[in-house]
């Protein structure tokens, strides 16, 4: 069981500069737990202490925005591709 994770530039400090890493888990939450063991600090940038996704991060499973498929409970299958992106936003 392996999932490809595309890491945005700002989080590559946690992956030794790698753009793509792989991890395992049957849900997104499990995947981030798994990733944190080999890429320390990555999970904390995406998941809050309360266990929710940060407001200004977008996470996708394949092409689906995970906010619409269960958030961190979104199911993963072998061969899925997860993309983490900064939500480019701002305001006055």
């Amino acid at each position: 069981m392996s999932v490809e994770v595309r890491v945005p530039t700002i989080l590559r400090q946690h992956t030794g500069g790698q753009k793509v890493v792989s991890g395992a888990g049957s849900t997104l939450a499990e995947l981030f737990d798994d990733l944190d063991t080999s890429h320390s600090g990555l999970k904390g940038r995406v998941v809050t202490d309360e266990g929710n996704l940060h407001r200004f991060v977008n996470v996708y499973v394949n092409d689906e925005d995970v906010r619409f498929i269960g958030g961190l409970e979104a199911k993963l299958e072998d061969g899925d591709s997860v993309t983490i992106l900064p939500a480019v936003a701002g305001g006055m």
């Binding site: 940060h54 200004f56 701002g90």
Partner: protein
């Protein structure tokens, strides 16, 4: 390209407009203008549409491109990053990007300024618009080797 960015900001006024300029990874060269939808459709806030952003990012990934410029407009205030602009960009932003701001508050004057935003620090950088002298009426001039040049051809 600056002309196209200002035109986009004008077209979306009074809402804030936002978009990107992509370029080959590692070169820092602004090559491809990608106007984005402001999912917030607001006069005071902008946010890339999540689905559109994913499509654009995948395309950039396949082309080995990166975000060189991330721009947005302010419709009633100066072209300077607000506290939330800087806060959000620092927490999880585009560290390699020039954050370009356009203000559309005056219908006759386009003010464009450029910034680096990293770890809570906003640093203005000089820019120079070349090729389209009338596109922008005020910007911070620069003629040093450190300046960022936006090609208007």
């Amino acid at each position: 390209m600056v002309e196209a960015i200002v035109a986009h900001a004008r077209a979306d006024h009074p809402d804030e407009a936002c978009g990107l300029v992509a370029g080959p990874e590692g070169t820092g060269e602004p090559k491809r203008h990608i106007p984005m939808t402001n999912a917030a459709r607001s006069t005071t806030f902008y946010e890339f549409d999540a689905e559109e952003w994913k499509r654009v990012y995948d395309e950039m990934w396949d082309n080995d491109e990166e975000v060189v410029v991330a721009y947005h407009s302010h419709t009633a205030t100066e072209a300077y990053p607000s506290r939330s602009d800087a806060g959000i960009a620092s927490e999880l932003g585009l560290p390699q990007a020039h954050y370009l701001l356009v203000t559309t508050r005056d219908p006759a004057i386009a003010e464009v300024r450029s910034f680096r935003i990293s770890e809570g620090e906003v640093t203005e950088e000089p820019i120079e618009a070349i090729g389209a002298p009338d596109a922008v009426q005020t910007y911070k001039f620069a003629h040093s080797p450190d300046s960022t040049v936006y090609d208007c051809h």
